[in-house]
Each structure stands twice: as C-alpha cells, then as structure tokens.
Amino acid sequence: MEEKISHIPVLRFGEAYRSLDTNDLGNVLRSGVRLEVSVANAGIIRRDKLSIEKGRSALRAIPADTLLDYAEKAAELYLDGELPFGMDGETQSVGDYVAALSELTGLPHSLCRSNMFKVAAALQNIRAVLTGLTRGLPPELFDKGCARLGDIDMNFYPIADSLGVTLPSNSPGVNSLWLPALVMKTPVFLKPGREDPLTPYRIIQAMIAAGFPKEAFGFYPTTHEGGDAILLSCGRGIVFGSDATVKKYSGYSNIQVHGSGRSKVLIGDDMAEDWESHLDVMVESVSANGGRSCINASSVMVPSHFDEISNAMAKKMAAIEPRARAEEDALICGFANADFAKAMDEAIDDALKTPGAVDLTAKYRNGPRLVEKYGQTFLCPTLIACSDPDHPLANTEYMFPFVSVVERPQSEMLAAIGSTLVVSAVTESEEWMSDLMASPDIDRLNLGSVPTNWVQWEQPHEGNLFEFLYRRRAIQSKTRRIA
C-alpha cells in the first residue's frame, strides 16, 4: 500500500502548487504520517514576480483599517484555529502544529508555544506596531498615500512592489517581522527556513482565513538560488544568516541583512556594586527562547566584580538542564542536526585552548556540555569567563545559551562592542545614556534593567519596516487641503 504523505505546497499568489522537487522532512507529524515540502525552482519565483500587480491590487482594494481588523482576527486563528494544511483538504490544529514544530526545530513544546504567542501578539498588537513604525500616522495613509500630522501634510509612496524575506529556522518568532508589510499593502514572497516551513505557512493560512486576499502571499520553500531570486527580484528584501550572508548582500541597498546579533548586556559603573539585583536580567538575556534568538545576549560586559558576576551567572545557567521536549519546564532546545551541535562543541573547546578564557559553567554542570538525552542532542548552557577581553570567544555567538563575560572599564565599552543588535545597558547615568544613544553600533537600545529579549510593540525591531517600504516626498498645494 502506498505510504500516506502530508505535503506542504508552494503558494503562488495563495494558490497551492505541488512541485516535483521535494524535501522529505520525515515522520514529524503527530499522526505518524510523513511530511514533505515542495521545493520551488528559482524560475517560478522570478516568473511570479512579473505578476506582482495581482497581489498589490488585491491589497489596495481593502481599506487599511479593515486589514488591521483582519490581522487581529488572524492572531486568534493562528493560536486556536483548525487551519488548512497540505494538499488534500487536511487541516492542522494548534496541537499538531506545536508537536511538528518541536520535532523539526528541536525547540521544546514550551518554547514553541512562547514563540507562537510572540507571533500572535505581533498580530494582536498590530495597531500599536504600525503606530510605532509610522510615528503615529493614521492607517488611512496606506489608502490615500497621504495623512496629516498636526498642521503638516505628509505624502508617502511605496518604494517596493513586494517584500521578499528568506527566513531562518532557529526561532519561529522571527516571523513577526514581516507581518506589518501586509497591512502596509505590500505583498510578501517568503522563503521559509528548511526546518520551519510550518510557521509561515500557518500564519499565511490564518491571515487568509481572517480575510486577507490570498494573492498577497507567496510561499516558496526553495534552494539558495531561489532565495536569491526572492531577494533580488522583490522591491525590498530581508535576509537572515551568518556573517558570510551579510558580506554576500552588503552591496545591495534594497536588501536588509540580519546577521549574527551579538547582543550584549552592559553593566554601568553605577550599577556594578548592586549586580545581584540584575542577575536574573543577565541570565534571562542569555537563555530565554533556548538562546536561539539574535536578541539573546552573547556577551556581558562588566566594569568590575568580574569573578562574582561570572560565577553567579554560571551557577544559574548550569542549573538549566535538558528536559524531554514535551515537559513544561523544558528550556533548552535539541539540535535538529546533531553534527552541527558536535561541531559547535568542538569549536568552543578548540577556542578554549587559547589562554585567557575558561568555561565556568563546567564546574557547576552535571556532566559535559554536549548531551544526548531524550532522543535529542543538546548543548548545555555555557558561560565563558574571559580574563582576556580580546579572547576569540569574547564576542562569539552560538545558537544555544552561550555567553562570554568580559571585564572592561565603562569608558571603553562602547568602543569595544562592535556591531550589536541589542544592547541592554544597566545604568542610570544620564551622561553614559547620552553616549549610548549616540553610538552607531547599536541597533536597539534598552536602558535600565531590561533583558535583551524584551519587546515593546511601539518600537521598531531590526530596522523600521515602514521606512524600508515607503518613502516620504514633499507635497504642497496652494488651492486645496491635501490630507
């Protein structure tokens, strides 16, 4: 008898297309049925892009305020809905989604759910998100192209006919980034990460069920060449990847590249004495979401109390142990690719041969860093105390709770951080805050005792999507009021 297979298709303007090229994702579904995913050839993407007007006009036909309502409704459907899945009228419950997502990504169920709530919250809070991005302009801006703020007329026009995003697999929450594009009436072309086609597919299904026109969505599991086709043919592109990815696309002004976050917690002179009050913030910054996000801290800089802080953090981190994926208190992730985990483990040990750094967690941990347990391969939380602030591990990021602690005078910290996605600066010094706000190396700045992974909906994350998709032009009239 022929084996039953669930198949995730390509979505071309929302229409399912079953490719003859497929990726086998294995027996990851709760039903025990094998899951495979269509792989789009690059030409299909370039060809669809020629018809992008279909997606744009479908979105243009709906008032932005209605799209915002749809987004809020989509949040509920994404969280609780029985949504279309596969080719043969199959559906997916949220339980099915979480279980399969955990199997594919190695995230425990608890973290799958927290990521899911993050995505849902981005939809639920879409009005606040949009207000933050547009600095308070009304949503009608996207219907009329202009709006009035105080006494000033403002005209914004779209500079991108579509947004192409090549997504990573490490953390499903990253999908919250592209959601506002749809209410800004910009169709999306998405390339899901190899291990997580489920999240963008489910979000798209929720958004379509809530009322968004299906023509606004392209979903293309594809090759590297296909990823390039998405980024290079869409008006604007966002790509996640390594430092090599950053280098590859650095010459393209229409592509926003998200490389390693290298996020950091900086403890100010004024707070160092009171470090114990901020211990939980430091540990959470490192280990929330299994350490998978680019907004997790990979380095903590302290001006003093190096030994006390390092040891206290190491002790807390070492207490976080691998659990079975379905356990509620599971906080760290298995690796879908065990060889990848082994390579990271070896790379860390190799780097530790260079004097000036020590794995402090090793003395508090029960056993080695690399653990095979519950049918998965884990890397246990690791803290590297760097007595040499320029040690190779002092500014390195890995996809698990991994952090270096470095001692530097506060006055030298900003010169040393390098390009950093999130800085949580634990300080109340107005003078230092001014310096921090002037730093060109920080993408998002948290001031005070705030973990790096904290999200405030009104603040843009990883660049302002509105400014990426729209440009303001001067507009004036002697005879009429414009907006």
């Binding site: 003859l20 050839n41 370039r46 060809r47 020629l50 060449e225 290079l232």
Partner: protein, 357 residues
C-alpha cells in the same frame, strides 16, 4: 522485430562498429600518431585484440588533460592526409583549453538529429536563432548546419561561458546577472526584428527571455536546449510556463566530445523525467560504478556517466564525464541504454558551478 531482438541487433552492430573503428585508429595506414604511439607503449595491439565493445574495458579511462597538453594535430588519422580540419574547444574551461579536431562529424551528428524530428517540430524553412557559446565551439557550426539542413538560416548571439564562470568564481554575481541581461536583450532585438521560428539556447537563457517576452508570442515554434541539469520540475516549468505549453521542446545532453544525445518524447508516466540516448554507435554512454568504471550499475540506479566516442575522425575510449545519471532501459526508437536525470557528479555532496549560462 521485437525489442529484445532490436537490443541484440544494436549490440551486434556496436561490436562490429567498434572492431572497425579500433582497426582504423590503430593501423599504420589510417591511424593517428597519438594512438599508434600509445599502442607501442601499452604492450598490446588493440587492432587485433578488440573484438567487441566490451574489449574497450582494457583501456584505462581516457584522461581529458591529454586534450589540453597534446598538439591536436597528433590526433589526425593518417587516412585524412593533409585535409584541412576544424579545431573545436570544450565549453567552460579556463587556462589552456581542451581541443578536439574534426571534419564532418558535426554534420553527421546534426543531420541525424534533424532527421529524428518531424518537419513541423522545427518547421522546415524557418530561420533559427542560436543564443549560446559560439567562438571556438563545434556547436556554432553545428546549429548553422542544422538550420541549413532544414532550409533556414541561423542568427547568432554569443555567450561566453568562460567569462561567466570567472565572474561566479570571483563572486561577481551582479556582473554575471548583467551579462545574462546583455545576452537576453540582444536576442530579443533579433527576435523582434527578424522572422525567427526555431531556437537553440540554454535553459537559463530561455527562462530569461521568457521573463521579457512570450516565446510562442514571438513566433517560436520549436526550441532545442542543452547545457545544464534539468530536474523533472525544471522540465515541467520550462514546458508549462516558459514555453506556455505551446512550443515544441527538444532537450538534449551533449558536448564537443560526444555530439548530442536526443531525449525520448516525454509521456505521462515519465513525470517530466528526461531520458537521453547517445548517437550510438558513434558515441556510447555507459552509467558506471564510480569506484570501478569497468562495472555498469543496475537499471534505474544512479552512476557516473562514461562516454566513448568512436568515429573515423576521433577516438576517445571511456572518458568519465563530470556528470552522474540514472541508467535507463532501451526504448523502441533507441535500442540501447539511456541516461536519465543527468546532474553534476556528486552534486548532492559537492558545490558545483553550473546553470548560470
């Protein structure tokens, strides 16, 4: 004749033809200096000892570096005397190119190719456009011969694969894209300004053209492609979308050393998986065990592609191509083994520069 008899008859023909060709290249009256010297050193006499195709297994795999290092004149069979000859170079190599000599082989190959297709597949009398590697390549003369044989003339747009490979090697992706656009734009100018009915190009350029104009809308009735890997999905995409299901499509597998292998017409059961048949007996494709190329693989299994070319002009036994493919059963029209779903050798484990031109 039933199919078993046809396969047996083709094998007998091949054995007889192999004897003739080996005797031709290894006899002092007709053979070439290169192979005659080779036989002196080898310590056996192929002219006497090769009785059947299987006996070619006594040759090592042909090292194509020889085609770089050796003066091509050393491959001239004595029987050709002082007849002027063509020198052809292989596609994308850099440094000293690999060269082969030839006189009429390309005409034989492309006449046979032409005769395979019906008058309306590539309509007789229509003009052709070739968008692909011209320069020192056999393909340039071959396509013109094909067009002429079918009663048309041929326009050319050159594409230099060596430049494309260099751009990619140097990470100049943007320049590579601009070069592709430059080639496509020139082709479209000709398609709009002249009456063209048939084309030869690479799949990638074909795609690029179709992103700018409708291929059937431009009056193209038949397209002949070769050059890169075509997965079943890619073939489907080209057929259904790029050619809009309205243009006759002839994918081929070939190169300067082989000539060209024709793909059998696709049926619903093929599900867009291509099978090519070499122009046997002039060229023979075997799908072999990569660890021991004297051994073939079973039908429907992947192995490395091995090419033997045997004409009076050129002899090249057991050259291992940089490709792998599935060994497929003979068919009625071609009663010898076919090669299916060709892709770069070990492409599932190694990164290969391919498919850009």
């Amino acid at each position: 004749m039933d199919s078993t008899n046809a396969v047996d008859a083709a094998k007998e023909d091949l054995d007889r033809y192999t004897r003739e060709m080996v005797q031709w290249h290894f006899s002092s009256e007709t053979g070439s200096p290169y192979w005659l010297d080779w036989a002196k050193e080898a310590g056996w006499n192929p002219a006497e000892e090769v009785k059947a195709f299987e006996d070619l297994m006594r040759f090592e795999n042909f090292d194509d570096e020889v085609l770089r290092d050796t003066d091509p004149a050393r491959f001239i069979p004595a029987a050709f005397g002082d007849r002027p000859y063509n020198i052809f170079e292989t596609g994308g190599t850099t440094g000293m190119p690999k060269q082969r000599i030839g006189w009429e082989d390309y005409k034989v190959d492309y006449s046979e190719f032409s005769d395979y297709y019906t008058d309306d597949f590539f309509p007789k009398g229509e003009n052709w456009l070739m968008v692909g590697p011209t320069g020192p390549r056999r393909l340039r003369l071959a396509i013109e011969h094909l067009a002429n044989r079918r009663g048309g003339a041929c326009y050319f747009i050159d594409l230099d694969p060596r430049w494309v490979k260099r751009l990619i090697r140097d990470g100049e992706y943007d320049m590579a894209r601009k070069y592709k656009e430059h080639v496509a734009e020139q082709a479209i100018t000709i398609m709009k300004g002249r009456k063209i009915g048939c084309m030869f190009t690479t799949p990638t350029i074909l795609e690029s053209l179709a992103e700018r104009i409708s291929i059937p809308g431009a009056g193209i009735k038949g397209v002949f492609v070769g050059g890169t890997t075509m997965t079943p999905q890619y073939v489907r995409f080209l057929t259904e979308e790029v050619l809009e299901g309205k243009v006759n499509f002839a994918p081929t597998y070939g190169n300067t050393l082989m000539g060209l292998a024709i793909s059998r017409p696709l049926t619903a059961e093929d599900n867009y998986s291509l099978t090519y048949y070499a122009p046997q007996p002039r060229a023979i494709l075997r799908i072999v065990n990569p660890k021991d190329s004297t051994q073939g693989v079973e039908y429907d299994e992947y192995g490395r592609v091995e090419l033997s070319t045997m004409t009076k002009e050129f002899f090249m036994p057991r050259f291992l191509e940089r490709d792998e493919a599935i060994r497929r059963q003979p068919c009625e029209r071609f009663p010898w083994d076919g090669v299916g779903d060709v892709r770069p050798f070990e492409s599932t484990t190694k990164k290969v520069i391919e498919g850009v031109y």
